[in-house]
């Protein structure tokens, strides 16, 4: 049914965010406890930082995707959720600011000995714990029906500070650390960093045990605190997905034990994805108390527009993501060994003359100048004196053409590079 399609998008987005960005958060968590392994603390921190560098921004965008699809297709439910759960969302937002800023800052330090490095690293690690915790308490609140329909109708504190929400938060942090350890072991193994691979293998095994125990404890808490959710998880599709998750978790542990990190990456992601799907199956068809997916959905035209928009976006997104991850997984974006690598293009083309040489360029410059004047007059004339919308569009295009031409003339004036400025004026 049409109203259910965007739910699939939202759940796919949450899964991608948990599996991808969750691991980036987890990498931040490991920088909080980098010691105790064969590799030094500094090497461990550098490894985690370099591993998430090219991908964390793209992974983060899944959160934006989830928010925008939710508020477009289920606006009423979204308004109720964000107003009641303003506190954890605000905490997550602040955590996101700290994490992004800390990452941008940390990349600029050359060595870990500089003053301020530790502060920035702590900030990065703490915000990596805070953000997944806060976001998961939101899921916990929705799951247990603590968000009534309406503008901030629910309790601002107990809606997200309750046993199930807190457990969801802790579980999210544990899952993040577990995923990150598996991925980081895989990255270290690819880069032939034996010590780091060994360290993260042990960390993955430990985190896997912790996450598994927490998941079992979580089921007990849900059974005591949220009978409706428990019923969904202990029967039918919900139960099947819980079993899938448990099996995938065990398989991952075996694969990590055998140092088969590439396959472990996939099965660890599957374990987490099955938990999210299980939650959805247990809660279906209810979004909020007294509000089903169908009731919460926006009108038909909006749903179709979103589905078309997402489909069109996927055509661009999927190949782009495939390119990014294939480059990352093949090590093409790993930190280069030295700053000065051979400069092949410069060597090949150093002798190639610039286009500004010769008599032909003066004629071309005149032609470009004439084009700039014509587009300027046409653009300004159409924008100022014409009325129809098409004339304004044409005028704007003419002005952009004028801007490009004049920029090309001004940024790259005739003459050799050396003459491009008088030393004194």
């Amino acid at each position: 049914m049409l109203a259910d399609v965007p739910v699939v998008f939202v759940l796919a987005g949450i899964t991608a965010y948990t599996v991808l960005a969750g691991a980036d958060f987890g990498a931040g968590i490991w920088t909080l406890v980098p010691g105790g392994g064969q590799a030094g603390a500094a090497a461990t921190r550098d490894h985690t930082r370099h591993a998430i560098g090219p991908v964390w921004e793209a992974n983060h965008v899944w959160l934006i995707f989830v928010l925008t699809v939710a508020w477009t297709c289920y606006p009423g439910a979204f308004g109720s959720i964000v107003s009641t759960l303003a506190v954890p969302l605000l905490i997550a937002a602040i955590g996101i600011i700290f994490r992004g800023t800390a990452y941008a800052l940390r990349s600029q330090f050359d060595a870990s000995g500089e003053p301020g490095v530790r502060l920035v690293e702590r900030l990065f690690a703490l915000s990596s714990v805070l953000t997944p915790f806060a976001l998961a308490t939101v899921i916990g609140a929705i799951t247990t029906g603590r968000v009534p329909v309406g503008n901030a109708r629910g309790d601002l504190v107990t809606s997200w500070l309750n046993p199930v929400s807190v457990l969801a938060g802790v579980l999210a942090v544990a899952f993040s650390g577990y995923l990150a350890a598996v991925y980081l072991a895989a990255d270290a193994s690819r880069q032939s960093e034996r010590a780091l691979a060994r360290d993260f293998r042990l960390r993955a095994l430990a985190a896997g045990v912790v996450a598994g125990l927490l998941a079992v404890a979580g089921l007990l808490v849900i059974r005591a605190e949220a009978p409706a959710l428990w019923h969904g998880l202990s029967s039918g599709l919900g139960l099947a997905l819980v079993i899938v998750s448990a099996l995938a978790g065990v398989v991952t542990m075996v694969l990590v034990w055998l140092s088969r990190f590439g396959a472990a990456r996939a099965s660890a992601a599957l374990a987490v994805a099955a938990v999210i799907a299980g939650w959805a199956a247990a809660q279906e068809p209810r979004v909020l108390p007294g509000l089903t997916v169908t009731q919460a959905a926006a009108g038909r035209a909006t749903l179709i527009a979103t589905i078309v928009g997402v489909a069109a976006g996927a055509v661009v997104l999927i190949p782009s993501l495939a390119l990014l991850y294939s480059l990352v997984l093949r090590g093409r974006l790993d930190a280069p060994g030295s700053v000065n690598e051979p400069d092949t293009a410069g060597a090949a083309k150093a002798t190639r003359p610039g286009r500004a040489d010769g008599a032909g360029s003066a004629g071309r410059t005149r032609l470009e100048a004439a084009f700039a004047v014509v587009t300027l007059v046409a653009g300004a004339g159409l924008l100022v004196f014409a009325d129809p919308a098409w004339a304004h569009g044409l005028g704007a295009l003419a002005l952009v053409a004028c801007a490009v031409t004049v920029f090309a003339l001004a940024a790259e004036p005739p003459g050799s590079p050396g003459s491009s400025g008088s030393p004194e004026s």
């Binding site: 941008a104 035209a301 390119l323 100022v384 004028c402």
Partner: protein, 468 residues
């Protein structure tokens, strides 16, 4: 389709989702300030998102074309700044997407079905930008030169597309179409036509697009002009100044024409906003334009009056009738002096920037020299921050000028605000966080500017050594 429509209307009529909940208005001020603060932080970063990839790619294209490694160094150093500013833009943009729901849940609830698509599409361009900025910034030396250059093109396209979708939403808030009202909320929504067939959209978008080049260009140029003033006048600094200043200097004079177009669109779609921008109390035939001065509730006092100019500018006819604030009740009028002062600030600074741009282009194209005189460098240094002030003033003009409406003449801001009681706390926290963020960005950019040029580059390229 009819059944789904009836369901939406039915839901609203049954009161399960209702806008009639009395909302605590105490926090309206904080919510507004929070939104304004976040936008003020984010919008200058958007300018870099639009303009910077193009400048970086221009430098890299020059390198591929000429083999001059100076351009490679420029592109490479700029790509690091681009990545850092993008990282900050990612988080400030995320905050905005949280806030749109956190602060204005009723707006989301009642109209999200019309405008939400714009943000969904923006999400995809954000994805593309994030993916390729990762490949581009980490791909130096790792990808072949042509492939590396190609990986930068989607960043530039996504920068343009992202702002396109977001401004489509803002244009819709200013000129809402594509839905029917039932019980105070939008039904029968047609998001495609509402967002992209909106006659108000194009002038606003092109205006912002040119503004992006002005802000990013002058801010970057200001940094190099500062370096030249400090005695670092090597080829590196002069080439960088030439590229960045050319972008800003070309855009600034053309912005005057685009701004005139935008103002006339405002005059047609939002006469009250135009009246507030000009301080026109009553509908007037052959209205005068006032420079400076103060609106005292009836007219502009202490200003310089130019007869009939407003009619001429707004409708190309010195005797045209311009609608005044009196066409709507006082409760539906925006705060005139805020809007008028912001508008005059934008126009005043914009005019100065356009003049500076013309001076530069004259010297550069006719005299064939890069001006580096002290007065000129100081003017460029000042132009950077001034262009940001003009940018923010422009957004204040359009956003405060829309008040008291969040959706123009459909939903008031005070009907959209959240009922959550944590807003003052959030407002305070956000100030602290943004101050920290501002300090961090300042520190980062200073640090970038002090990284010595790469050893592969001939030291004589940079004037740093001469300055000694």
């Amino acid at each position: 389709m009819l059944s789904s429509l009836a369901r939406v209307v039915g839901t609203s009529a049954a009161g399960t989702v209702t806008t009639a909940v009395p909302v605590d208005q105490r926090y309206l001020f904080e919510a507004r300030q929070m939104q304004a603060l976040s936008l003020t932080v984010h919008i200058p970063l958007v300018c870099f998102g639009i303009a910077f990839p193009v400048l970086v790619l221009f430098a890299e294209w020059r390198y591929l074309h000429t083999g001059d490694s100076l351009y490679r160094t420029l592109a490479r150093r700029w790509s690091k700044i681009m990545l850092a500013l993008f990282a900050v833009g990612v988080v400030t943009g995320t905050i905005l997407s949280f806030e749109l729901g956190l602060l204005w849940p009723v707006w989301m609830q009642d109209f999200g079905n019309v405008f939400g698509l714009g943000f969904t599409l923006e999400g995809f361009s954000f994805f593309v930008e994030a993916i390729f900025i990762g490949i581009y910034a980490y791909g130096w030396d790792r990808l072949s030169p042509r492939l590396h250059f190609a990986s930068g093109i989607p960043i530039a396209v996504a920068g343009v597309a992202g702002s396109f979708f977001v401004i489509a939403v803002n244009a819709w808030m200013n000129h809402p179409t594509g839905f029917r009202l039932a019980g105070g909320r939008a039904v029968d929504a047609h998001p495609w036509s509402a967002l992209f067939a909106n006659p108000f959209f194009w002038s606003e978008y092109v205006h912002m697009y040119f503004a992006a080049y002005i802000v990013a260009g002058f801010l970057m140029a200001g940094a190099y002009a500062w370096a030249i003033l400090r005695g670092r006048r090597g080829r590196y600094e002069r080439t960088a100044l030439g590229i960045t200043l050319s972008a800003a200097a070309v855009a600034a004079p053309l912005q005057v024409v685009v701004g005139d177009w935008a103002a006339r669109d405002v005059g047609q779609a939002q006469p009250v906003k135009l009246a507030a921008m000009e301080g026109l109390a009553t509908t007037t035939r052959g209205a005068a334009e006032h420079l400076l001065g103060w609106y005292n509730g009836h007219s502009v006092v202490y200003g310089i009056e130019i007869p009939r100019l407003l009619s001429l500018l707004a409708f190309h006819n010195p005797n045209a009738t311009v609608k005044g604030l009196n066409i709507v009740p006082l409760a539906d009028q925006p705060p005139v002096n805020v809007v008028r002062f912001a508008f005059q600030t934008m126009v005043g600074i914009g005019t100065l920037l356009a003049l500076l741009g013309l001076v530069y282009l004259y010297l550069r194209l006719r005299r064939r020299q890069l001006p580096t005189a002290r007065w000129f460098c100081w003017a460029v240094v000042a132009a950077g921050p001034l262009s940001v002030v003009a940018l923010i003033a422009g957004w204040i003009t359009t956003e405060v000028g829309r008040q008291p409406w969040i959706v123009y003449e459909v939903m008031r801001v005070d009907a959209a605000v959240t009922g959550a009681h944590v807003i003052p706390f959030g407002y305070g926290a956000l100030w602290v966080v943004y101050l920290g963020l501002g300090g961090a960005v300042w520190w980062l950019l200073r640090r970038f500017s002090r990284v010595p040029l790469e050893p592969e580059l001939n030291p004589e390229l940079s004037g740093a050594h001469h300055a000694g």
